[in-house]
Subunit: 174 residues, 2 copies
Amino acid sequence: MRVLGIDPGLTRCGLGVVEGSIGRPLALVDVSVVRTSAQLAVPERLVTIERGIDARLDEYQPDAVAIERIFARSDVSTIMGTAQAAGIAMVCAARRGLPVALHTPSEVKAAVSGNGRADKAQVGAMVARILRLDAAPKPADAADALALAITHIWRGGSQARIDAALAAAGRKAR
Amino acid sequence: MRVLGIDPGLTRCGLGVVEGSIGRPLALVDVSVVRTSAQLAVPERLVTIERGIDARLDEYQPDAVAIERIFARSDVSTIMGTAQAAGIAMVCAARRGLPVALHTPSEVKAAVSGNGRADKAQVGAMVARILRLDAAPKPADAADALALAITHIWRGGSQARIDAALAAAGRKAR
Protein backbone atom coordinates (compact mmCIF):
# COMPACT_ATOMS: atom_id res chain seq x y z
CA MET A 1 0.00 0.00 0.00
CA ARG A 2 1.05 3.57 -0.60
CA VAL A 3 0.41 6.19 2.08
CA LEU A 4 0.73 9.98 2.09
CA GLY A 5 1.73 11.16 5.56
CA ILE A 6 0.98 14.80 6.37
CA ASP A 7 2.53 16.77 9.23
CA PRO A 8 0.20 19.79 9.10
CA GLY A 9 1.40 23.32 9.64
CA LEU A 10 0.81 26.77 8.23
CA THR A 11 4.50 27.71 7.91
CA ARG A 12 5.79 24.24 7.00
CA CYS A 13 3.56 21.34 6.01
CA GLY A 14 5.48 18.07 5.67
CA LEU A 15 4.34 15.62 2.98
CA GLY A 16 5.85 12.13 2.79
CA VAL A 17 4.86 9.24 0.56
CA VAL A 18 5.86 5.72 1.61
CA GLU A 19 5.08 2.42 -0.04
CA GLY A 20 5.19 -1.04 1.41
CA SER A 21 3.46 -3.53 3.63
CA ILE A 22 3.90 -5.18 7.00
CA GLY A 23 6.92 -7.46 7.25
CA ARG A 24 8.56 -6.19 4.08
CA PRO A 25 10.98 -3.28 3.64
CA LEU A 26 9.23 0.06 3.18
CA ALA A 27 10.29 2.41 0.39
CA LEU A 28 10.45 6.19 0.24
CA VAL A 29 8.44 7.42 -2.75
CA ASP A 30 8.62 11.17 -2.19
CA VAL A 31 9.15 13.70 0.55
CA SER A 32 8.64 17.45 0.47
CA VAL A 33 7.59 20.43 2.54
CA VAL A 34 5.06 23.06 1.49
CA ARG A 35 6.18 26.39 2.94
CA THR A 36 4.06 29.51 3.16
CA SER A 37 5.15 32.99 4.16
CA ALA A 38 3.76 34.55 7.34
CA GLN A 39 3.50 37.76 5.29
CA LEU A 40 0.63 36.28 3.29
CA ALA A 41 -2.96 36.27 4.54
CA VAL A 42 -4.09 32.99 6.12
CA PRO A 43 -6.63 32.19 3.35
CA GLU A 44 -3.85 32.45 0.72
CA ARG A 45 -1.56 30.31 2.85
CA LEU A 46 -4.23 27.62 3.22
CA VAL A 47 -4.85 27.61 -0.53
CA THR A 48 -1.10 27.11 -1.13
CA ILE A 49 -1.17 24.14 1.25
CA GLU A 50 -4.26 22.74 -0.47
CA ARG A 51 -2.54 22.97 -3.86
CA GLY A 52 0.58 21.27 -2.50
CA ILE A 53 -1.41 18.37 -1.06
CA ASP A 54 -3.55 18.02 -4.19
CA ALA A 55 -0.41 17.95 -6.35
CA ARG A 56 1.04 15.02 -4.33
CA LEU A 57 -2.29 13.17 -4.39
CA ASP A 58 -2.46 13.62 -8.17
CA GLU A 59 1.12 12.53 -8.73
CA TYR A 60 1.46 9.63 -6.30
CA GLN A 61 -2.12 8.32 -6.03
CA PRO A 62 -1.82 7.01 -2.46
CA ASP A 63 -4.24 4.43 -1.05
CA ALA A 64 -4.64 6.31 2.23
CA VAL A 65 -3.70 9.56 3.98
CA ALA A 66 -2.29 9.70 7.52
CA ILE A 67 -2.43 13.06 9.32
CA GLU A 68 -1.03 14.06 12.69
CA ARG A 69 -3.81 14.40 15.24
CA ILE A 70 -3.80 17.90 16.71
CA PHE A 71 -4.66 18.54 20.33
CA ALA A 72 -6.15 21.78 21.60
CA ARG A 73 -3.63 21.72 24.44
CA SER A 74 -0.74 22.32 22.02
CA ASP A 75 0.99 25.69 21.73
CA VAL A 76 -1.83 28.23 21.51
CA SER A 77 0.03 30.61 19.19
CA THR A 78 0.27 28.05 16.38
CA ILE A 79 -2.68 25.76 17.14
CA MET A 80 -5.22 27.54 14.94
CA GLY A 81 -3.08 27.45 11.81
CA THR A 82 -2.10 23.84 12.47
CA ALA A 83 -5.72 22.82 12.98
CA GLN A 84 -6.74 24.59 9.78
CA ALA A 85 -3.94 23.01 7.76
CA ALA A 86 -5.00 19.61 9.14
CA GLY A 87 -8.61 20.36 8.16
CA ILE A 88 -7.55 21.21 4.61
CA ALA A 89 -5.55 17.97 4.46
CA MET A 90 -8.64 15.99 5.58
CA VAL A 91 -10.81 17.66 2.94
CA CYS A 92 -8.27 17.03 0.16
CA ALA A 93 -8.29 13.32 1.02
CA ALA A 94 -12.02 12.96 1.69
CA ARG A 95 -12.95 14.71 -1.58
CA ARG A 96 -11.19 11.85 -3.38
CA GLY A 97 -12.80 9.20 -1.22
CA LEU A 98 -9.45 8.27 0.33
CA PRO A 99 -9.40 6.83 3.86
CA VAL A 100 -8.02 9.32 6.38
CA ALA A 101 -6.38 8.24 9.62
CA LEU A 102 -5.22 10.50 12.43
CA HIS A 103 -2.27 9.37 14.52
CA THR A 104 -1.06 11.15 17.64
CA PRO A 105 2.58 12.23 17.91
CA SER A 106 3.18 9.64 20.63
CA GLU A 107 1.67 6.86 18.51
CA VAL A 108 4.01 7.84 15.69
CA LYS A 109 7.07 8.02 17.95
CA ALA A 110 6.22 4.65 19.50
CA ALA A 111 5.65 3.04 16.11
CA VAL A 112 8.94 4.10 14.52
CA SER A 113 11.23 4.11 17.57
CA GLY A 114 9.53 1.97 20.20
CA ASN A 115 9.43 5.01 22.50
CA GLY A 116 6.40 7.29 22.63
CA ARG A 117 8.58 10.05 24.05
CA ALA A 118 11.37 9.88 21.46
CA ASP A 119 12.82 13.26 20.45
CA LYS A 120 12.95 14.65 16.93
CA ALA A 121 16.52 13.42 16.33
CA GLN A 122 15.57 9.86 17.30
CA VAL A 123 12.49 9.91 15.05
CA GLY A 124 14.56 11.25 12.14
CA ALA A 125 17.24 8.61 12.67
CA MET A 126 14.68 5.78 12.79
CA VAL A 127 12.89 7.06 9.67
CA ALA A 128 16.25 7.06 7.87
CA ARG A 129 16.98 3.53 9.05
CA ILE A 130 13.51 2.17 8.17
CA LEU A 131 13.59 3.71 4.68
CA ARG A 132 17.33 3.00 4.20
CA LEU A 133 18.24 6.67 3.67
CA ASP A 134 21.76 8.04 4.09
CA ALA A 135 20.60 10.66 6.58
CA ALA A 136 17.52 11.80 8.48
CA PRO A 137 15.18 13.78 6.23
CA LYS A 138 15.30 17.51 6.87
CA PRO A 139 13.50 19.55 8.11
CA ALA A 140 11.83 17.71 10.98
CA ASP A 141 8.43 18.24 9.30
CA ALA A 142 9.59 16.06 6.39
CA ALA A 143 10.78 13.30 8.74
CA ASP A 144 7.53 13.52 10.74
CA ALA A 145 5.43 13.18 7.58
CA LEU A 146 7.35 10.02 6.61
CA ALA A 147 7.03 8.70 10.17
CA LEU A 148 3.24 9.20 9.93
CA ALA A 149 3.10 7.23 6.68
CA ILE A 150 5.26 4.44 8.17
CA THR A 151 3.06 4.34 11.28
CA HIS A 152 -0.04 4.08 9.16
CA ILE A 153 1.29 1.14 7.15
CA TRP A 154 2.42 -0.71 10.26
CA ARG A 155 -0.58 0.04 12.46
CA GLY A 156 -3.05 -0.41 9.64
CA GLY A 157 -1.53 -3.75 8.84
CA SER A 158 -1.60 -5.02 12.40
CA GLN A 159 -5.15 -3.73 12.85
CA ALA A 160 -6.19 -5.60 9.71
CA ARG A 161 -4.59 -8.78 11.08
CA ILE A 162 -6.38 -8.33 14.42
CA ASP A 163 -9.67 -7.83 12.58
CA ALA A 164 -9.02 -10.93 10.49
CA ALA A 165 -8.14 -12.97 13.61
CA LEU A 166 -11.30 -11.81 15.39
CA ALA A 167 -13.39 -12.62 12.33
CA ALA A 168 -11.81 -16.10 12.17
CA ALA A 169 -12.43 -16.62 15.90
CA GLY A 170 -16.02 -15.52 15.36
CA ARG A 171 -16.46 -18.09 12.60
CA LYS A 172 -15.05 -20.84 14.87
CA ALA A 173 -17.36 -19.82 17.72
CA ARG A 174 -20.43 -20.17 15.54
CA MET B 1 -22.04 45.04 -2.37
CA ARG B 2 -23.04 41.47 -1.60
CA VAL B 3 -21.39 39.62 1.30
CA LEU B 4 -21.51 36.00 2.43
CA GLY B 5 -21.21 35.82 6.21
CA ILE B 6 -20.05 32.51 7.65
CA ASP B 7 -20.44 31.45 11.28
CA PRO B 8 -18.15 28.41 11.17
CA GLY B 9 -18.92 25.21 13.01
CA LEU B 10 -18.68 21.49 12.47
CA THR B 11 -22.21 20.66 13.69
CA ARG B 12 -23.90 23.81 12.38
CA CYS B 13 -22.28 26.25 9.96
CA GLY B 14 -24.36 29.39 9.42
CA LEU B 15 -24.33 30.97 5.96
CA GLY B 16 -25.97 34.36 5.39
CA VAL B 17 -25.94 36.50 2.26
CA VAL B 18 -26.69 40.22 2.62
CA GLU B 19 -26.68 42.91 -0.02
CA GLY B 20 -26.47 46.65 0.40
CA SER B 21 -24.22 49.54 1.14
CA ILE B 22 -23.54 52.07 3.88
CA GLY B 23 -26.40 54.47 4.54
CA ARG B 24 -28.96 52.48 2.58
CA PRO B 25 -31.23 49.69 3.77
CA LEU B 26 -29.61 46.25 3.67
CA ALA B 27 -31.43 43.29 2.15
CA LEU B 28 -31.45 39.63 3.08
CA VAL B 29 -30.53 37.53 0.02
CA ASP B 30 -30.31 34.08 1.58
CA VAL B 31 -29.74 32.40 4.90
CA SER B 32 -29.13 28.75 5.66
CA VAL B 33 -27.30 26.39 7.96
CA VAL B 34 -25.17 23.45 6.86
CA ARG B 35 -25.56 20.68 9.43
CA THR B 36 -23.34 17.64 9.72
CA SER B 37 -23.85 14.62 11.92
CA ALA B 38 -21.39 13.90 14.72
CA GLN B 39 -21.69 10.26 13.65
CA LEU B 40 -19.76 11.00 10.47
CA ALA B 41 -15.96 11.18 10.37
CA VAL B 42 -14.52 14.70 10.54
CA PRO B 43 -13.11 14.61 6.97
CA GLU B 44 -16.60 13.80 5.61
CA ARG B 45 -18.14 16.54 7.75
CA LEU B 46 -15.63 19.09 6.46
CA VAL B 47 -16.32 18.07 2.85
CA THR B 48 -20.05 18.57 3.46
CA ILE B 49 -19.33 22.07 4.79
CA GLU B 50 -17.09 22.80 1.82
CA ARG B 51 -19.86 21.75 -0.59
CA GLY B 52 -22.40 23.91 1.24
CA ILE B 53 -20.18 26.99 1.08
CA ASP B 54 -19.24 26.38 -2.56
CA ALA B 55 -22.93 26.03 -3.46
CA ARG B 56 -23.75 29.46 -1.93
CA LEU B 57 -20.73 31.06 -3.60
CA ASP B 58 -21.84 29.62 -6.95
CA GLU B 59 -25.44 30.67 -6.52
CA TYR B 60 -25.07 34.14 -5.00
CA GLN B 61 -21.68 35.31 -6.32
CA PRO B 62 -20.81 37.53 -3.34
CA ASP B 63 -18.17 40.26 -3.58
CA ALA B 64 -16.58 39.31 -0.24
CA VAL B 65 -16.72 36.70 2.51
CA ALA B 66 -16.83 37.57 6.21
CA ILE B 67 -15.94 34.81 8.68
CA GLU B 68 -16.04 34.81 12.46
CA ARG B 69 -12.53 35.04 13.89
CA ILE B 70 -11.88 32.05 16.16
CA PHE B 71 -9.81 32.36 19.29
CA ALA B 72 -7.83 29.52 20.80
CA ARG B 73 -9.25 30.44 24.20
CA SER B 74 -12.75 29.36 23.15
CA ASP B 75 -14.33 26.15 24.39
CA VAL B 76 -11.64 23.49 23.95
CA SER B 77 -14.06 20.68 23.11
CA THR B 78 -15.33 22.41 19.95
CA ILE B 79 -12.43 24.66 19.02
CA MET B 80 -10.70 22.22 16.65
CA GLY B 81 -13.79 21.59 14.53
CA THR B 82 -14.66 25.28 14.50
CA ALA B 83 -11.13 26.24 13.46
CA GLN B 84 -11.18 23.63 10.70
CA ALA B 85 -14.58 24.75 9.41
CA ALA B 86 -13.27 28.35 9.38
CA GLY B 87 -10.19 27.19 7.48
CA ILE B 88 -12.35 25.48 4.87
CA ALA B 89 -14.42 28.66 4.54
CA MET B 90 -11.26 30.71 3.97
CA VAL B 91 -10.02 28.30 1.31
CA CYS B 92 -13.38 28.28 -0.51
CA ALA B 93 -13.24 32.08 -0.74
CA ALA B 94 -9.54 32.44 -1.49
CA ARG B 95 -9.68 29.84 -4.28
CA ARG B 96 -12.09 32.18 -6.08
CA GLY B 97 -9.97 35.23 -5.38
CA LEU B 98 -12.65 36.70 -3.09
CA PRO B 99 -11.55 39.03 -0.29
CA VAL B 100 -11.86 37.37 3.13
CA ALA B 101 -12.35 39.35 6.33
CA LEU B 102 -12.37 37.98 9.85
CA HIS B 103 -14.48 39.75 12.44
CA THR B 104 -14.45 38.93 16.15
CA PRO B 105 -17.73 38.13 17.92
CA SER B 106 -17.48 41.40 19.89
CA GLU B 107 -16.92 43.43 16.70
CA VAL B 108 -20.04 41.85 15.23
CA LYS B 109 -22.12 42.42 18.36
CA ALA B 110 -20.96 46.02 18.57
CA ALA B 111 -21.66 46.65 14.88
CA VAL B 112 -25.23 45.34 14.86
CA SER B 113 -26.35 46.26 18.39
CA GLY B 114 -23.95 48.96 19.61
CA ASN B 115 -22.93 46.64 22.44
CA GLY B 116 -19.91 44.33 22.15
CA ARG B 117 -21.36 42.14 24.89
CA ALA B 118 -24.85 41.76 23.47
CA ASP B 119 -26.42 38.32 23.97
CA LYS B 120 -27.69 36.03 21.22
CA ALA B 121 -31.30 37.23 21.57
CA GLN B 122 -30.24 40.87 21.17
CA VAL B 123 -28.12 40.07 18.10
CA GLY B 124 -30.99 38.11 16.55
CA ALA B 125 -33.47 40.93 17.23
CA MET B 126 -31.15 43.55 15.73
CA VAL B 127 -30.47 41.39 12.64
CA ALA B 128 -34.25 41.09 12.17
CA ARG B 129 -34.71 44.85 12.52
CA ILE B 130 -31.81 45.74 10.18
CA LEU B 131 -32.99 43.33 7.49
CA ARG B 132 -36.70 44.05 8.14
CA LEU B 133 -37.56 40.44 8.94
CA ASP B 134 -40.65 39.39 10.87
CA ALA B 135 -38.61 37.47 13.43
CA ALA B 136 -35.01 36.74 14.41
CA PRO B 137 -33.48 34.13 12.10
CA LYS B 138 -33.21 30.69 13.73
CA PRO B 139 -30.99 28.99 14.75
CA ALA B 140 -28.52 31.48 16.29
CA ASP B 141 -25.88 30.34 13.75
CA ALA B 142 -28.07 31.72 10.95
CA ALA B 143 -28.51 35.07 12.73
CA ASP B 144 -24.77 35.22 13.48
CA ALA B 145 -23.89 34.61 9.83
CA LEU B 146 -26.18 37.47 8.77
CA ALA B 147 -24.72 39.69 11.52
CA LEU B 148 -21.24 38.97 10.14
CA ALA B 149 -22.30 40.00 6.63
CA ILE B 150 -23.96 43.18 7.98
CA THR B 151 -20.83 43.99 10.00
CA HIS B 152 -18.66 43.54 6.96
CA ILE B 153 -20.73 45.88 4.82
CA TRP B 154 -20.82 48.55 7.52
CA ARG B 155 -17.20 48.26 8.65
CA GLY B 156 -15.88 47.77 5.13
CA GLY B 157 -17.77 50.83 4.03
CA SER B 158 -16.49 53.02 6.84
CA GLN B 159 -12.97 51.68 6.33
CA ALA B 160 -13.20 52.53 2.64
CA ARG B 161 -14.34 56.07 3.54
CA ILE B 162 -11.44 56.45 6.01
CA ASP B 163 -9.02 55.25 3.33
CA ALA B 164 -10.51 57.69 0.84
CA ALA B 165 -10.27 60.57 3.35
CA LEU B 166 -6.65 59.71 4.12
CA ALA B 167 -5.84 59.51 0.41
CA ALA B 168 -7.50 62.91 -0.12
CA ALA B 169 -5.56 64.40 2.82
CA GLY B 170 -2.38 62.95 1.32
CA ARG B 171 -3.11 64.62 -2.00
CA LYS B 172 -3.70 67.96 -0.27
CA ALA B 173 -0.45 67.60 1.69
CA ARG B 174 1.57 67.09 -1.48
